[in-house]
Symmetry: C2
Subunit: 193 residues, 2 copies
DNA sequence: ATAACTCGTTCACTTAAGTTAAGTAATGAA
DNA sequence: TTCATTACTTAACTTAAGTGAACGAGTTAT
């Protein structure tokens, strides 16, 4: 697991052995059981998550209904907005598979960043990259229909369709579970012809 | 205009007079006429934009149709994904009002960042904040209907509805111009009752 | 001044998503 | 095992967005 982390980091900066052990000494790895809720609505957390193995999702409860808006899988990072804005969380984060996460605290992070300017650089690069990616994803969502979104997902993250319950996928695609069922039946019908 | 910039920066870091003049000496301000295209599809640009006054928009041309996905107005920043990923641009950026922009080059930026670690810090903070904001916007979009999105925009950015053509607003809301017209008529009808 | 465009709106029609309800299969707890 | 709950699908009906066409108002070009 440590190596998966260092491989990831090496895409942004190169670490000396000392820096690697400084990072490991923070003891950030955590194994989390499926179903664990990592963050609740209203909480004021300072934790960021990096998924080494497994899957976590973010969801809102609006009018008593769960609305899933994102999934984070292997080598993906989530810093909830409440951590950045220092406000109570608008949403929940839960673990939908037994997972291995790297859980960091924004205070510890700030400390690391000021001790090792390299980390600051990595954080900037990473968040710039994630911002660019998020905007592209948003643009694709805006410019396509539910059916196109589903087909697009099938291309880009086929694993998600296997590992995630349909009703969570549906709200991730911005539609109701019944519509997702129908839409898939429609596609199958087309394929047959 | 310089003061608007420094006020903005002061939300993230504090600058000495020397640093301020170092920044000004880069001569980044640019006045741009309405209609100017700042970035074209396929181009490999290194420019980022910060809007001091005016409005710019990003749009794709898909199947010969313009799809507007974002507007950036006063005190908002855009670094196109092609700058981050060093790939040809997927979209266009154009200026929809006479504007005053701060246009920076990613090479110059990198130089500033390494010369003044403070800038690096500001860039990290800013992009983390923008990422959090973008994710919230995306979540809101996913979890609401076109009508709700319009009403939401009316609350959050009432200026946009005034200054931007309807057909651009429509695709920004993920619908066709005809649907936006109808939707507005529907809302007016409801208000009357 | 006139013609050609663009923009916004409206209308009739089509298509697809939302809603409500029902049924079956799978999962979990007692 | 049985009972209860949850997940997924299907269907009938409603609602709203997409489509194609037409219109008037305002703009630009000739």
């Amino acid at each position: 697991m440590e190596n998966r982390l260092f491989d990831f980091i090496s895409k942004y900066i190169s670490l000396t052995e000392d820096e690697k052990s400084a990072l490991l000494s923070l003891d950030l790895f955590r194994t989390v059981k499926k179903g664990t809720i990592l963050l609740k609505e209203g909480q004021q957390s300072k934790e960021s998550y990096f998924v080494l193995k497994g899957c976590i999702r973010t969801y809102y409860i609006l009018d008593g209904e769960e609305k899933t808006t994102a999934f984070y899988t292997e080598m993906e990072a989530l810093t909830p907005p409440c951590v950045i804005n220092k406000t109570p969380s608008e949403y929940y984060v839960s673990c939908i598979e037994d997972s291995i996460l790297l859980v960091s605290n924004s205070d510890t992070e700030a400390e690391m960043n000021s001790k090792f300017p390299k980390f600051e650089l990595m954080c900037r690069k990473l968040s710039e990259e994630l911002l660019a990616k998020e905007r592209i994803d948003f643009d694709e969502f805006k410019t396509s229909s539910p059916e196109e979104r589903y087909l697009n997902l099938l291309q880009k993250r086929p694993d998600l369709i296997q590992r995630v319950p349909q009703h969570q996928l549906a709200s991730y695609l911005g539609i109701k579970p019944q519509s997702l069922s129908r839409l898939r039946a429609r596609i199958l019908e087309k394929d047959k012809r």
